[in-house]
Symmetry: C2
């Protein structure tokens, strides 16, 4: 059984601020947060949140973190080591998470009391996790997804936040941004964007929970826009990596990134007309795109792919360079391609479709520039003009 | 006397296409282009244009290029060597400009017959050039400025395109973008944006003149937006270089670039309400910002400045690193600061104002992150909300 944390905030003080027992209204219930996931980014998210729950009266101090249990080479359980050392020794070594982070290997137990659920797992696990916890969470729970990627089904693309919302019957926001986990872990300045659907109050609560001096969070009313930014940027990072591998220089790289941003915006707006242009100026948009195209594993593997003239497959390079991690950009490019083909939009998105065709070996790496040179001008796009 | 080029296009053919003598209307007059300036970017611009005038019937083949005459170490005149070798041996060695580029050291002679004037000189020379040629150009001439920078006068900032327009009494478009001259010279793919004021036909003519397979040009009706992008990005590049020198990582750099883009947009819209958000998604906006913050001399000197803890001045680093070239970012930051102070906007633009205060030694290089962390959120900005 995972331990728990006593609340350090004085309830009486909280009641006095919130409108206490004296005037007949009960003190507002404190929110309980659980982080579902404990990888690199999940651990950093828990650290950020845990430093804020200590400071904010409206939250319980304790932050529960569901850990997919593993046995370490020492024979110990990962969750036990996290609770003993206060460090995720496997996925974020050297960083103290905060004593109020409690690792819990039991998923159902970890989520049952929380009214704020933070989902941060590889995207292919989310459907299974939802099936396991449906009916076992609080009915008033609010969710936020930090997960990048989407599921493409016959009926169309399904965003992870929609999957969570539909399967669990709860509202789901998203948080995306230029967020290399290890840099935030050592408290280097960065920004993030919360996307919310309706309630600005809920968005504000998530901002409170994540925002800290070195992590500047803003909220925008555009779940799909924010989430698609986080997902699609990985496809552009493949394109940017190809340009690096071809040694085309900074002009070309900047042009490819811009065309990529343009296709991200157009694709998002064609799928969800509510998506706002302004979202692409937020951290989740242009800033995350820049970070991902400067560093990042998608860029890196694509660079190696181009240097090898496309003769070694992405699968092979992934296995060699990423120690078992998968390249999100390659699978997202495939998913995007399927949507484009299904809807007859392939010609409108030369960069997205070319990235996929390069990934599967149908086109050579040099095609990334040749095809992008044929970016549709507004006169060719006709009725879809407003999306570009 | 500079030589001249015979027109290779058959006038009769042109007349037949354009509606010729047979039906009573004279053939439309062919446009004559002069490039005012012959530095690195000016020479590349002449090369681009010269390859297009050969192909387009509506232009005279010859492209005249005004050369600020210099005597080379060999004792020869620069303009004579350009006309003999077809290369600007001093500012763009190794690149053939096209036989139809004619270097002309006589400014008045170079401009007198042209109805399309391309201005591409250091910005501090433009006022003097205008004074020399006013009244000596064609009344129907159209101008385009490739010049970055602005003049701040008592009555407010004056863009170079406005200076040209006002002093010469002619219309002036601008062309800006992610355009490292040497990369375009070797025909690597890039993009650019033409900003125009009223006439879409004129904009199309400039696009025709510059656009080529490896140089993709689009036009937007937003002269001030396009021109301010080209000017202000140098201030952001200083900020990005400081982050590089402080070794803050890619998250922070992306955040600073995003905040910079946001301030570019807000500053432009506050000065010129006609400026469009969409302009910042064009090559002149996000792409030029990326190129300039990845490479570029502003970034490079600012990195060195931060590495030295601000102990060696920009003047000193400039002299050492730039062989006599001046850092546009430092002077633009000062000009922007004066506008902000004069209008009481300093607090709305923490990044812009901090860059200037770091440049003059009033704040340490680390302030770039500390002050940017205090980016005004929309709730603080109040009535100016729509600009951010």
């Amino acid at each position: 059984m995972a331990p728990s944390v006593e609340d350090s905030n004085n309830n009486t003080a909280a009641a006095a601020i919130g409108g206490g027992v004296e005037n007949g209204t009960p003190p507002p219930e404190k929110s309980r947060v659980t982080v579902v996931g404990s990888g690199n980014w999940g651990s950093v998210a828990a650290k950020l949140i845990a430093s804020n729950t200590l400071k904010l009266n409206s939250f319980h101090d304790e932050v529960r973190m569901w850990v997919f249990e593993e046995t370490l080479p020492t024979g110990e359980k990962l969750s036990e080591v996290i609770n003993r050392t206060n460090e995720n020794v496997k996925y974020l070594p050297g960083i103290k998470l905060g004593k109020n982070v409690i690792a819990d290997p039991n998923l159902e137990n970890a989520v049952k009391d929380a009214n704020m659920l933070v989902f941060v797992t590889p995207h292919q696990f989310m459907e299974g996790i939802c099936k396991r916890i449906v009916g076992k969470i609080r009915k008033d729970a609010e969710a936020i997804s930090l997960i990048k990627g989407m599921e493409v089904k016959k009926e169309g693309p399904c965003m992870i936040s929609s999957l969570i919302s539909e399967q669990l019957g709860i509202n789901c926001c998203v948080l995306m941004g230029a967020n290399i986990a290890n840099e935030i872990a050592v408290e280097k300045f960065s920004e993030a964007t919360v996307g919310y659907r309706k309630s600005k109050d809920i968005a504000e609560k998530w901002v409170q929970l994540f925002n800290i001096s070195y992590f500047n969070v803003s909220a925008v009313q555009d779940v799909e826009g924010v989430e698609l930014c986080g997902t699609l940027k990985n496809v552009v990072a493949i394109a940017a990596g190809l340009v690096d591998g071809l040694e085309m220089g900074n002009n070309t790289k900047a042009a490819i990134m811009r065309i990529g941003l343009r296709e991200m915006k157009a694709f998002s707006k064609l799928l969800f007309p509510s998506v706002k242009d302004s979202t692409f100026f937020e951290s989740c948009g242009v800033a995350d795109l820049i970070t991902t195209c400067l560093g990042g594993r998608n860029r890196k593997c694509a660079e190696a792919f181009a240097r090898n003239g496309g003769k070694r497959s992405f699968d092979e390079l992934e296995a060699e360079m990423l120690q078992g991690q998968k390249l999100q950009g390659v699978s997202t490019a495939k998913e995007v391609y399927e949507v484009l083909r299904h809807r007859g939009w392939l010609e409108l998105f030369p960069l997205f479709s070319t990235v996929h065709e390069i990934c599967i070996g149908r086109l050579p790496p040099t095609a990334i520039v040749e095809y992008s040179e044929h970016t549709p001008k507004f006169s060719l796009v006709g009725g879809s003009n407003q999306f570009f």
